[in-house]
């Protein structure tokens, strides 16, 4: 079966090959295992980009293949990050507390209090909130990485799909969900350190000896592996009958429903699956970024996700990956203050100021003129061209023949 799947989808193999090649190259050029051409901070950036590619895959699955424009997937990404971050903070702090302990050995209560004081001292409390109950255990917290976002997606999706909220309404509703979550996390009372978020996540407890040079490469490997597996899973989902139904729902939900398919079930499954992928991506992303705070899951982040996928080309998995990698890397370069100024005769364009304008406008032009995004370029090279459907429609409905089309 898998053999058949791979031969039917040669792009999967090509993608996995390129990913492996990329990972190997970066490793050989890194500080830790190679010739020290790529700095550790660059390795971290590349590793984080791979995680962003993974969530872009999820977005493509839910939007490009299923037609649900979710403006809230970064909520799941962020929750995944928060869940792993809680363990990282507690485990690291426990090491510090135990190292500095003197006198009597600590009772469990005292140890817990000491950890809480260290973690929550900066936000002015010293109580361990109830939601941190499992934070001391890695397996429990790893389970929560998928459980919490998964259950949120399941609950939200069930409510939304059941009442047949679709289209623009659904987009706004997902946006409201991520906004509500961000606002909730901004409150100190929510027990996740409010605006300060969780920080120092790059220091992995027990791996202090490894140093950031090596850790960054390990995380790159982990991210690449996750992306590879995620790609396989997504490619597998969209191929075959399940994928056909997904695309059918995207194109005409009512017809699929009348054919007897449980549309809501399909939607719920895909929505939850993509939430899980997003959560795993987040759990890998934030230990590389080092800090997570509620600003990360503000609605704007999820909208950018849609932008990446649209620019890369939705409805193709590799399109989403290219989009996420391209836009986020270019964005980093332009906003890093290192892009040379563009000196026009009367005005100097500083990219720090103008990059957003450029991004916004290029996004508009992509939606207007190149709905396939960057992956359309590949089509162009391969000689694939969409039919020219110009002229006025001949019939009243969407998708009716166009005048020129009819003439051909």
């Amino acid at each position: 079966m898998t053999h058949g799947f791979l031969t039917k989808n040669p792009s999967v193999l090509i993608f996995l090959g390129l990913l492996a090649l990329f990972t190997l190259t970066v490793t050989l050029l890194s500080n830790a295992y190679g010739v020290e051409v790529i700095s550790t901070s660059m390795v971290k950036t590349l590793g984080k980009t791979l995680c962003l590619c993974l969530i872009a895959l999820a977005m493509d699955l839910v939007w490009g293949y299923m037609g649900i424009l979710s403006l809230g997937h970064f909520a799941f990404f962020g929750l995944g990050g928060y869940m792993i971050g809680m363990w990282l903070m507690v485990a690291r702090t426990r090491e510090i507390v135990l190292a500095s302990a003197t006198g009597l050995p600590m009772t469990p209560q005292e140890l817990n209090d000491a950890i809480a004081t260290q973690i929550f001292g900066v936000v002015g409390t010293s109580q361990m909130p109830a939601i941190w109950a499992f934070a001391g255990s890695l397996p429990a917290q790893l389970a929560l990485v998928v459980l919490v976002p998964g259950l949120l997606a399941l609950g939200f999706g069930w409510l939304a799909f059941r009442s047949r909220v679709t289209g623009v309404y659904l987009s706004i509703l997902t946006q409201a969900m991520t906004l509500a979550l961000a606002l909730y996390l901004y409150q100190n009372d929510s027990g996740l350190r409010g605006n300060n978020g969780l920080s120092g996540l790059q220091n992995i407890p027990g791996l202090d000896w490894a140093g950031q040079d090596r850790l960054s490469v390990w995380f790159l490997w982990a991210s690449a592996l996750a992306l590879g597996l995620g790609y396989l899973a997504c490619a597998f989902t969209v191929s075959g009958k399940f994928g056909s139904v997904m695309r059918a729902i995207r194109d005409d939900e009512a017809r699929v429903r009348f054919l007897g398919y449980p549309v809501e079930g399909y939607k719920l499954f895909v929505f939850t699956l993509t939430a899980l992928i997003a959560a795993i991506a987040g759990a890998l992303y934030y230990p590389q970024a080092g800090i997570i705070n509620p600003a990360e899951i503000a609605p704007i982040a999820s909208i950018y996700l849609a932008v990446w996928v649209a620019i890369g080309g939705r409805g193709r998995l590799w399109g989403a990956v290219i989009g996420a990698a391209f836009v986020s890397m270019v964005s980093t370069w332009f906003t890093g203050g290192r892009a040379p100024d563009l000196n026009l005769a009367i005005y100097t364009v500083k990219w720090v100021d103008w990059w957003q304008v450029l991004l916004g406008l290029s996004f508009v032009s992509v939606t207007l003129f190149a709905p396939k995004g960057l992956s359309g370029l590949v089509d162009l090279l391969a000689g694939l061209r969409p039919p020219q459907r110009r002229g006025a429609p001949l019939g009243p409905d969407d998708g009716a023949l166009m005048e020129q089309e009819a003439r051909q």
Binding site: T102, V122, N188, N196, G200, Q202, A289, I292, G337, K350
Partner: protein, 433 residues
């Protein structure tokens, strides 16, 4: 007209940028100074000013012959108000550009994001903004105010000079107001103010609908006690707050408001019509542009000529940057090297005149001594300085929270930033983040 002025400003800033570029390509042995301030995003407005201040100070120092016979070279990066990016850029500055010192950060989150990186790579950071304290890193020098240099004296002023008996602590919901208000609550209770006379409210960033909160504050007066507001409201949310306050007819004599985050820049968002209703409201800082000293006059002149705009205001974090930079120069000169450990050692005990007529001294806990100034808002958007104390030593760990009261920081003798004076042990060498 507006556009043209802005164009001029942009052009001036661009000039500064290209100048940096030129210095960056200058060959030879230089001392690299990293500038880690957001140039885009929400914090850009505040932080860009500090970037320009550092560039101005570097330019002036280079004219004087640099440091240790070498020219200073600024490496400017843009963390774009994105907290994870601060950590990334700090790592880049330390490992790729190999800077000897960094000036940067504004928000506490950004500092907490950078901390693990600079402690891991043993960098040196000068942090120029007033903050909530509860921290003392070996690798950071805090040239802004700790709570006991801004919040506590302002509260004392309320208690003693204005006779306030009931307090409304209004803040934006993030770490600085949270911690500051916690400290103030404990402090007020220690001064005999009962818990029910302390009203605390947190609002989101950029809050604009203040009618309910202002009404709540007004209603506090029903007890017959004098009400005062201590505001840690951040940035432009203040504008809506002050407008609502003015509309409801509350004057500084009825309910005084002291703000810790409102300076000359924030007031420029209010028109003359609104300012006249705010006359007499207070702000507490360690510096006001209206300070009448020769040093301040020279600093303002240098700033205006560097930025090419006579209307740009100066503010407290700029003064903190100015003191920090000059102390660093002196410490490097004294140590004869830019090696971080030696410079950090030489930093302790450095003295440098501040801009308000007294002397700043770097303490063993990496905080400065600073005078506390309280100003009343005037109709022109400047402050009338009505109270100025002698320099107060900054306290890294507040005395008013039980967990922190036993902690002290001393990098000179104890070599520890978090030392428990009861158990006589160093709790930890690295910071909490």
């Amino acid at each position: 007209m507006i556009t043209r002025r802005n164009l001029l400003m942009t052009a001036a800033a661009a000039g500064a940028m290209s100048m940096t570029g030129r210095i960056a390509f200058a060959a030879g042995d230089t001392i690299k100074v990293g500038v880690l301030h957001s140039l885009s995003g929400t914090m850009a407005i505040s932080e860009t000013t500090l970037k320009d201040t550092v560039l101005m100070l570097i330019e002036a120092q280079n004219k004087k012959g640099g440091v240790l016979g070498k020219q200073l070279e600024a490496v400017v990066v843009d963390p774009a108000s994105d907290w994870p990016l601060f950590a990334e850029k700090a790592r880049e500055l330390l490992t790729v550009d190999k800077v000897d010192v960094m000036f940067g950060c504004w928000t506490s989150v950004s500092r907490k994001s950078v901390l693990p990186v600079i402690e891991e790579l043993n960098g040196l950071l000068f942090y120029p903004v007033q903050y909530e304290g509860e921290e003392s890193s070996k690798n950071v020098f805090y040239t802004g105010a700790a709570p006991n240099q801004q919040a506590i004296p302002a509260t004392d002023y309320f208690l003693k000079e204005l006779g306030v008996q009931k307090f409304a602590l209004l803040g934006t919901d993030y770490v600085y107001p949270r911690t500051t208000n916690n400290i103030l609550e404990a402090y007020l209770k220690s001064k005999g103010i009962p818990a029910e006379d302390i009203f605390v409210n947190y609002t989101p960033f950029g809050q604009s609908d203040w009618s309910k909160i202002v009404a709540d504050v007004k209603a506090l007066g029903a007890d017959g006690k004098k009400v005062g507001v201590i505001s840690t409201i951040n940035g432009d949310a203040n504008i809506g707050f002050y407008k609502e306050l003015a509309a409801s007819g509350i004057t500084a004599d009825d309910i005084p408001v002291v703000a810790f985050s409102v300076g000359e820049e924030e007031l420029s968002g209010l028109g003359a019509g609104d300012l006249k209703n705010l006359v007499g409201q207070l702000a507490a800082w360690n510096y006001f542009e209206s300070a009448d000293t020769p040093e301040n006059k020279a600093f303002i002149e240098a700033w205006h000529s560097f930025i090419g705009n006579d209307k740009r205001t100066t503010n407290d974090p700029m003064e903190a940057t100015y003191i920090g930079f000059n102390m660093w120069v002196n410490a490097v000169t004294a140590a004869g090297t830019t090696e971080v450990d030696k410079v950090a050692e030489a930093m302790i005990g450095q003295k440098f005149p501040n801009l308000t007529g007294s002397m700043a001294e770097m303490l063993p806990n990496h905080h400065l001594t600073k005078p506390v100034l309280i100003g009343e808002i005037k109709e022109d958007g400047q402050f009338d300085i009505i109270s100025q104390t002698d320099p107060v030593p900054g306290d890294a760990w507040t005395d008013f929270l039980p967990e922190s009261a036993v902690l002290t920081s001393d990098w000179k003798d104890l070599k520890c930033g978090m030392y428990n004076t009861e158990t006589k042990t160093c709790v930890q060498l690295k910071s909490n983040y």
